[in-house]
Symmetry: C2
Subunit: 306 residues, 2 copies
């Protein structure tokens, strides 16, 4: 399967207004900045984007707003996986109608210790109900957050039943061996790392890119890694990868969405970036100050904000 | 605080139709049967009721249907806690408008390792947004499923800020020491066990009752325990509690919703009871057969179905 979903994707933050509702103008502006500065695509409404803190209506309006504000549908890989089958179907349909490149689909994540039969039935039921040949699903494997494990056998079973729909996986497990195993076992199945640190090693072993939180501020570095690797310049790729990993480690030592919103607030001079919906919370001032000291020591300077 | 939420509550199953949508007539029938056979109240749309597998609209319609079908609002303790703040506010408002005795509120459960500040802000924001003096919240503590821990200090903080709203907790942690500690530390705060096995020990130590899955089929036993305890007949209470615990252990060795739906299907002769929404799945035939053998050996016979 050839997919447009490859390269560097940001797990896009969702800027909020004073009522803690998604700020349509601000996210469109952020998406444009990301595209201008290294992002091949935009995975809005994922974990970093606080998707599960928004109602389905809020998520639909956010997607529609992006399209109306000029973001091309075919660079979008929105998260659409909810706990409720009917919600996942509704959001997935919306994404397909808006021309998204694909959808990033968490398994239903409330119940724990569910069977592979139950997980297979969840994905199968969504695919059948959406019933659209344009649908491309990227499984979202993030067991530390979802509490649900999307194992090799389940992927194999889904690929055998829905080879034209099941297009890849975002693997946020942090287990590079698992990523490589899936990339090598399933030709044409696009494996993307959920963490910047594995971008280069995964590309070198059959993967197709990354979808990361840190790309909200460091996509320019990830894009350099990707470009150097495509040009066969392994030395330069490794050098930039080391810089990217250092930045990633500094940020991911803290709650990611909150830390990234602090960075964007300082970078843009817009304190609106600090709004975050509970249960997430702003960084405490000490952590924020320490983060900026560390980033300065790494000489980390994102491209100018618009 | 005096609350009507005490005694035996079922965590009510949600019967589904062939499209895996809630079956309005069947749940009303089930609720009437439960009230006629030992339940003081009905906690619909909890974990056992597959609430998180339904959209907010499906849940609203289910609640409205129950009222229209003659179930009194004041025996209902519906689950209303969702991942999204706006969903929780909407469902909670609906429950209050329908005259529910209270609501059972999970914390937002997607993000893990969230701070007590973030959890406090989640509950506070819901309470402020609902803004209704009739609101009574029972916290839903089920860390094994939600991945979120509602600790003693958080409850203390919520009670100090919202003493008229925060009315109690359903504790499904299985930690009887935690239940007793909260019951004794917070006078007037209603602690209910999420598991039948702790009904009597919790009543004897300051708790007010239970809200359980197994009450879908065994409320008649739990009601006997409760009645004997109120009458001061400790010996009889302990005797029936032992029977209830044995039944509970047999059922809870299997996935609860699926096992209980099997029992109801056989008990009513209605195979519609076997529908279950993914990611949950039907019991496999061997497990179902073994369950019925065990229940027979316990001489377990629920009251006749309508």
């Amino acid at each position: 399967m050839n997919s447009s979903v490859q390269g560097v994707f940001a797990a896009v933050l969702t800027p909020l207004d004073g009522d803690l509702a998604p700020d349509r103008a601000a996210i469109a502006r952020h998406c444009r900045w990301l595209r201008d500065n290294g992002c091949d695509g935009l995975s809005v409404l994922g974990t970093t984007g606080e998707a599960n803190s928004f109602s389905v209506e809020e998520r639909e309006r956010l997607l529609e707003g992006l399209i109306e504000d000029g973001i091309p549908g075919n660079v979008l890989l929105p998260g659409t996986g909810c706990c409720a089958l009917t919600d996942t179907v509704r959001l997935t349909r919306k994404a397909v109608e808006l021309g998204a490149a694909g959808v990033l689909m968490l398994p239903p994540f409330y119940y724990k210790n569910v069977s592979d039969d139950g997980l297979f039935a969840s994905y199968a039921e969504v695919i059948e109900r959406v019933g659209d040949a344009r649908l491309r699903i990227f499984l979202y494997h993030f067991p530390q957050m979802s509490g649900v494990f999307l194992g090799h056998d389940l992927i194999d079973r889904l690929l055998k039943r829905y080879p034209d729909v099941v297009a890849g996986v975002k693997d946020s497990s942090g287990d590079i061996d698992n990523m490589i195993r899936n990339a090598q076992a399933f030709p044409g199945f696009g494996v993307l790392s959920g963490s910047d640190e594995f971008l280069l090693p995964l590309l070198q072993n059959g993967g197709v890119g990354c979808i990361t939180a840190v790309a909200n501020v460091a996509a320019f570095l990830a894009a350099e890694v990707y470009a150097a690797w495509r040009e066969g310049d392994g030395e330069r790729a490794a050098h930039i990868q080391a810089r990217l990993t250092a930045v990633r480690n500094a940020i991911s030592a803290l709650p990611l969405s909150a830390a990234l919103k602090e960075i964007m607030a300082r970078h843009t001079g817009d304190d609106g970036w600090l709004h975050i919906r509970p249960p997430l919370a702003r960084l405490n001032p000490t952590n924020a100050a320490d983060l900026f000291i560390t980033l300065e020591s790494l000489d980390f300077n994102p491209p100018p904000a618009p």
